[in-house]
């Protein structure tokens, strides 16, 4: 394949990745990695290097819109980043003593199982807001945003410790494998903290850039960030994220949850296949 063909092909695929990644709060890596490894025959190491850049691009590209329009909850994001950043360092520290196939099987299975509560809540627009108390109250983990139809949604959060724990798992996974953090972040905010779906995915989207940046140094140092791959990926992702952010703001919580459930299933299957030796 000519360089120019590769660049254009990856550019257009990455637009698609950016749109989906910014809506579900997982970043574009979930699309970019299997495309590179299966379709393009690129080694998984280079694919993960590209995925890190894709996640940072999706995060910053879409968050600029989400933060301005106050759908992202900044305080919840910053608070949970304590756990994701600590988790990323822990993941890096224990990487030598872990078996990545076993980890992928475990975490892929957890994601599959978490589809059940996700599907049970499939019609939920705005969750019944819990009472704000204890640590959540002290930390101000509450907020409001305006839907595209002008409705103001006020919400509180609950179970901050469970939220932190789930996010720490996300961080460890990112530090260990370079992938897979976003899904656990969204699940923590949705299932444990009871936030509206759009707040969960956009706050995850806000955080994944920091988690990916925390792991970026090692991929850079190893030379896994390949200019030919990351240039079209970054450009496509940034355009896709700008489109995806506009789509999310106009979408209903129920729509976002349905898209998330599908992407979650794909992510879980990708992870389990990877454990079985299929390079995705």
């Amino acid at each position: 394949m000519f360089v120019v063909e590769f660049v254009l092909l990856m550019f257009f695929i990455s637009i698609f990745a950016g749109i989906f990644g910014s809506i579900v709060g997982l970043g574009g890596g979930i699309v970019v990695i299997p495309v590179l490894t299966i379709l393009m025959g690129v080694d998984i190491h280079f694919a993960i290097g590209a995925s890190i850049v894709a996640i940072i691009g999706t995060s910053s590209g879409a968050a600029s819109t989400y933060v301005r329009d106050k759908v992202t909850n900044l305080r919840i994001g910053m608070f949970l980043e304590l756990a994701s950043a600590s988790g990323a360092i822990t993941g890096a520290a224990i990487a030598a003593y872990t078996n990545s196939a076993a980890l992928e099987t475990i975490f892929g299975s957890i994601l599959l199982v978490s589809l059940v509560p996700m599907v049970m809540k499939i019609g939920e627009d705005i969750p019944k807001s819990p009472e704000l108390k204890g640590v959540s109250k002290r930390l101000g983990l509450t907020g409001s945003y305006t839907e595209s139809d002008g409705r103001v949604v006020n919400y509180n959060s609950t179970r901050p410790v469970e939220g932190l724990a789930g996010t720490a798992v996300a961080g460890v996974l990112s530090g260990l494998l370079g992938i897979g953090g976003g899904a656990f972040k969204v699940l923590s905010m949705d299932l444990a903290m009871k936030l509206p779906m759009k707040v969960s995915t956009t706050t995850s989207n806000f955080m994944i850039g920091v988690t990916a940046a925390a792991s970026a140094g090692i991929y850079f140092a190893r030379g896994d960030v390949v200019p030919l791959i990351v240039a079209p990926v970054a450009l496509g992702i940034l355009i896709g994220a700008a489109i995806g952010a506009r789509v999310l703001l106009r979408s209903r919580n129920t729509t976002v949850r349905k898209i998330f459930a599908v992407v979650l299933a794909v992510a879980a299957i990708e992870m389990i296949l990877s454990a079985l030796g299929v390079s995705v």
């Binding site: 910053s60 600029s64 950043a85 140094g217 030919l228």
Partner: protein
């Protein structure tokens, strides 16, 4: 701008992210155009081969001197590298500026939280790649 108003934080962080993305994207675009212009009709597989016996891979000179030299000689690879570094720096600057924004809001608890996040982030990015036994 009223720095004690919590809304200010959304405006400023939104702008930091937007400008970071536009600036880094523009530089990567320049590099990508240069790459297509100079190497567009070469075979891409040569640049995509992973060699497990060669880590770090030499597709990028990650030293500062190498980067500066590449930039001054208009190497498209170095310009892409610069753009990617700026893209990675965008969330880092977002966290850094948040520390000051929370300070302006007189929110001491979140100044501490954000400062800890920034410390962890910089440690993870810049120090752990050089600790033996990390990242296996």
């Amino acid at each position: 701008m009223n720095w004690r108003d919590p809304e200010t934080m959304n405006v400023v962080i939104g702008k930091v992210l937007r400008y970071g993305v536009i600036f880094s994207g523009a530089i990567i675009l320049l590099g990508a155009i240069g790459l297509a212009a100079t190497n567009g009709l070469s075979d891409s597989s040569g640049m995509l081969t992973y060699n497990p016996n060669m880590i770090p891979h030499d597709n990028l000179d990650i030293s500062l001197g190498g980067l500066v030299q590449g930039l001054t000689t208009f190497s498209p690879f170095s310009w892409i590298e610069l753009g990617v570094i700026l893209l990675i720096a965008t969330p880092v600057s977002r966290v850094t500026i948040s520390v000051f924004l929370f300070a302006a809001e007189r929110d001491r608890l979140y100044v501490i939280i954000t400062a800890v996040v920034l410390t962890l982030l910089l440690f993870s990015m810049l120090v752990t790649p050089f600790i033996p036994g990390f990242h296996a």
